[in-house]
């Protein structure tokens, strides 16, 4: 595990040695193919009977929500790992999950509320699922603020880990508590399951292609975020070496 995040860096940063195989560059090329392909599929997909054209928003909305949950799970796993081992690699995994989670939650909320404007006539309703995602995002934003207000690297990692574990355990509790909250003025149009859109064959293919594209993008972002953190370590390392020189000069 100690070198896992080093390996996931794929030779980015300032390296003097030989260049390694760089997965992020490969992903850039594959995305060049898969992004247009996804767009074509989304445009060609049949419109939903009730939601008509607007149903296509679903193809961005759902993958980003899945990836948001995945990121927060990564953050949680990183937190557990850090708690057991105190290794920097787990810390890098935590911050990667945290930042990408907030990013994809934001995409999910923005696309969701644009769709809700069409389907429900309002940008915002307090239905349980939406409330849960929003609270989740606020929780993780708070974690991000916590991280940025600590100086010492060791303590930074420790507090991030504690907050990640508590926040992740809290998510199901938040979901259950939103049921007690009166749903407000706006009825949920599609029954209890707001996103329950009947998908037929072609739509499912489109959705799968969209999820694959988003996942490629997710892996690309993860590599870049890990690279950023490794660069930070590199700066600290060079700086330490310089200070040592000064001490012996």
């Amino acid at each position: 595990m100690a070198t896992l995040t080093k390996k996931m860096d794929f030779g980015g940063g300032v390296t003097t040695g030989k260049r390694k195989f760089d997965l992020s560059k490969v992903l850039l090329w594959t995305m060049l193919v898969s992004f247009p392909l996804t767009l074509i599929f989304i445009l060609l997909a049949p419109s939903d009977f009730e939601l008509k054209y607007s149903q296509r928003i679903f193809y961005f909305h759902m993958p980003s929500n899945i990836l948001c949950l995945l990121s927060f799970t990564i953050y949680f796993i990183g937190g557990l790992g850090y708690w057991r081992t105190r290794k920097r690699s787990w810390d890098i995994l935590m911050i990667t999950g945290l930042e990408l989670g907030v990013f994809f939650a934001l995409i999910g909320i923005v696309t969701g509320s644009i769709w809700a404007r069409y389907a429900w006539g309002t940008f915002w309703t307090w239905d349980p699922r939406l409330t849960t995602v929003t609270i989740m995002m606020v929780v993780y934003l708070a974690g991000w603020m916590l991280r940025s207000s600590v100086e010492d690297p060791g303590r930074k990692a420790a507090l991030t880990a504690v907050f990640g574990i508590i926040g992740f355990i809290n998510v199901p509790l938040v979901y259950f508590s939103t049921r007690f909250f009166p749903a407000g003025l706006h009825p949920i149009v599609f029954g209890t399951n707001g996103a329950a859109v009947a998908l037929e064959g072609f739509m499912i293919v489109t959705l799968v292609i969209s999820i694959i594209t988003f996942s490629q993008f997710f892996v690309y972002l993860m590599i870049q975020r890990i690279r950023l953190e490794n660069l930070r370590d590199q700066v600290a390392g060079v700086r330490m070496a310089l200070n040592e020189d000064e001490d012996y000069a």
Partner: protein
């Protein structure tokens, strides 16, 4: 495929848009375009931010390396210093040290 509405959406970005017909609003096409633009904007902003942070760190590494090189060229190889035979540059470029992980007193 609703070509007219696609042309309408393209036209919106370049010229003053004609008022959307009820058909376009009804089908939700405008909303799809809006969501699409929003997603791209968010992605662009995040990528930009990520890249900027990486760049500034890369510059910092380069700058520190230069400082180090300058110091070594100005200083004669001092036999009194106990650690000069250990080239710190080698160690740094090979395996970046991670003081973060193990700094706990």
């Amino acid at each position: 495929m609703n070509l007219n509405s696609l042309l309408f959406a393209l036209g919106q970005t370049t010229s003053t848009p004609p008022p959307p017909t009820t058909d376009q609003v009804d089908s939700g096409f405008v909303y799809v375009i809006a969501a699409f633009i929003a997603v791209w904007l968010l992605i662009a902003v995040y990528l930009f931010w990520l890249n900027r942070r990486q760049e500034s760190l890369r510059q910092e590494v380069e700058q520190l390396r230069q400082e180090e090189a300058e110091r070594q060229s100005t200083q004669a190889p001092a036999p009194t210093a106990p650690f000069t035979e250990l080239d710190p540059k080698l160690e740094v470029s090979g395996t970046p040290q991670t003081p973060q992980g193990n700094l706990r007193g």
